[in-house]
Amino acid sequence: MDDLKKRAMWAFRIALFALGIGIAIPVFKISVDPAVTGTFYSIASATFAIGVLMYWKIKKGDKLVRDERVNRVAQKASSWSWFLSYVLITILFWVQYLKLYPLTVEFVLGLMFYFMVFSYVISQWYLNRQPNV
């Protein structure tokens, strides 16, 4: 089994495991915060999506997950994502300082959580389309 196939299989296993826990919590009436159940569903859907993406790549003929070009893309995407997150934090600071919008800790943490992931994924997608990285 090649590298990408192995990783795709692991993604599906993790997705199934997280989904199982997400379903087991209400079935066995385990008392936890509803956010915990939601988190397991989110993990399941995200890892399932990653698995599907990997299988799509295998169908396209890719066998390897990483090579030097992919590593360069990942490094550059990380630094772009870091910079964009820094810009967002700066904007949020001024929004709070100038009292333009009432910010809560939950809102800021939630926004940063998703923004860091999305900015990385989008940077990676963009850089992957560029020939020279």
Binding site: G61, D62, L64, D67, R69, P131, N132
Partner: protein, 73 residues
Amino acid sequence: MRTKIKELRARHGLTQDDLAQMVGVRRETIVFLEKGAYNPSLLLATKVAKALKSNVEEVFEFDKDELKLEKIQ
């Protein structure tokens, strides 16, 4: 930068997938290399040249301007 990868690959009867497996990169990387659009590391360039039974200077060609050295003061 121009490359002779496609020409040398055809001469040796190798597919892009074969060459990618030989040098340990994804086929996509070979596609970009063949177009002369991707600047590989010295190690990858050497591996590609070795796989094509050639040397780096033969496989990868640069314009004179690209190889121009800066004067030191």
